[in-house]
Amino acid sequence: MSEPSRLHPATVIFNLVKGIKDSFFLFVIAFVSLINLHILYAILMIVVLVLIIAIASFVSWQRFTYHVEGDELKLEYGVFIRKKRYISKNRVQSIDLTQNLLHRIFKLVKVEIETAGTGAEAEASLNAVTLMQGKALRTELKTLGEVEQLEENHEEKHPARTITRKRLIITGATSGSIGVILAIAGAVSSELSRFIPSDFYDNAYSWVVGLGIIILVMMIIGVFILLWVLGIVGTIIKYWNFTIEKVEEDIVITCGLLEKKHITIPMKRIQAVGYVESLIRQPLGYATVIAEIAGGSNQKGEDFSTVLFPIMKKSEIDNFLTELLPNYTVNQTDFTKLPKRSAKYYLFRTVVPSLVLLIAALYFLPQLTWIPVAILGLSILLGLLQVKDSGYALEDNKLTIRYRNFNKVTMVMNHKRIQAFNKKQHILHRKEKLATIKLSIVGKMGLGKHYHVKELDLEAANKMADWYSYRGV
């Protein structure tokens, strides 16, 4: 692919559609302001606007070329200002192929190439190329050497995992929103019954009003159930047929029902791997396996980490990691927990905000005191869980840390991926020989991602520092 080539002509249509969508307000304003003059003017204005956007999308398509030359992907684009962007193969963090419905009609694919650079957008985004070209581009840009590529013909079985239908439904049913919904539904339904005075049902008129309230409650509950079901459907569409595969030195993820995604992540680019046990999934024994990959755009409010597998029994994780990411197996055996004396700091942090809430509630809304009291109880529980769960394990070049804010997070990182190590102690810490550590790795959008383990035993923190230090002890 040394000749500069254009994107598929369908890009013009895509750009046109997108252009019209983005300037929708302009259309409305133009239409509304001209309709008073004459309907024809308004229609003419719309036609002109569409034409302008059409010409702009045609020209930008015509000006956009890409080709791979040597070790670089070269893009040339821009209508008034000509831009050339060269991306070195060695710097590519991930290659995503996405197909939405429009793409699928034309058998096309969108290619997004990401490097570690800062910014929300992908460094190179080819809106529409044929599936063949997309795949060819991917093989060309993959970091592996040519010798290894020849071996690919052997068709050996790659380690892979696919999500089952049942698990997919569980993923949706236990996704974050359910907890919030349940809490709100609980609070609302119990609150509403308090607002109905007992003598309300005394006469027929009030009975109807009472019925109205009951219907209201039913409707609210109905809405929550609907939201929950929508959440499940959303998850199913998003993670449909989620498959993760290890091909040579890359991790390949495919998923999606309406919009097919195909993500290629070179293994070398992975900064940390771990799993998250959310409050709802933990009691069921499920966890989400995630990875931290440098750079990358932050899409649709994803919680920053890349999902390696949406749901998995905790007991299956070891096997999964051994097969796919042997450098990142979680060390479960030598886990060092926090000393007992750190518990008070954790409790302090979780209890103080809810105490403030309680005092405020006592003052302003004494009849609703039970809510902050319940929150206080939960925050004590959370604090205790946080101490119980936090800890670390050191093994050769690998550090496993575990902590909890709400969800329990276990992360494994390699020595060479940690950019800086920080140890903090305040006065009380110094007296009690405790220390908080901070590990910085490269995260999404080229920003740093920092992991904290708070109130470790000082000895442990020093041990970690010595492990990290290049000076030796």
């Binding site: 440098a294 940690i418 950019q419 903090k424 006065i427 490269v442 990290y468 230090s469 290049y470």
Partner: protein, 159 residues
């Protein structure tokens, strides 16, 4: 990591920080003056003026006289062949290790206040973090920058 780093930053840092703090404190002092004037002109309640005055005194003492000294006393750094070691903090003591192979770039900076005392700060960036050693003498800062820049050889496979 048990021993603190050995090098201290320039003693003039205290003066530079004091000037910065005083510039900020000027805001509360202006408020105090405005309060006094208002008291005489429109009979603004005296107790509010008194509180603002007290706050001005206490905060000026703390930020301009106490903190710079404590901060300076704690600030240490040491540059080894393989890594950089930094300590700072007043109530919370923070110690950071930055391996040389993780350093992406170093730069020296000098604002007008630092320039007055012929000082400069050195900031060290990795792919994830930035660390600043404030207020070194200009000469040492340049030396340090060049030294770190020669020692920092980023890994082939970094990021």
């Amino acid at each position: 990591m048990r021993k603190p780093p050995i090098n201290m930053i320039s003693r003039d840092a205290i003066k530079a920080w004091q000037i910065t703090a005083i510039l900020y404190e000027a805001i509360v002092w202006i408020l105090t003056i405005v309060g006094i004037v208002l008291h005489f002109v429109i009979d603004f309640p005296l107790w509010i003026v008194a509180i603002v005055f007290a706050v001005s005194i206490v905060s000026t003492y703390i930020t301009a006289f106490l903190i710079p000294k404590l901060r300076w006393r704690r600030w240490r750094y040491e540059v080894f062949e393989q890594e950089i070691y930094i300590q700072h903090g007043i109530l919370v003591v923070s110690r950071t290790l930055i391996p040389m192979i993780r350093v992406q770039h170093v730069e020296t900076k000098q604002g007008p206040i630092l320039k007055k005392y012929d000082l400069a700060s050195v900031s060290i960036s990795t792919a994830a973090t930035t660390h600043e050693i404030p207020a070194l003498s200009n000469e040492i800062a340049s030396e340090l920058r060049d030294k770190i820049s020669t020692l920092a050889k980023v890994d082939e496979d970094d990021v």
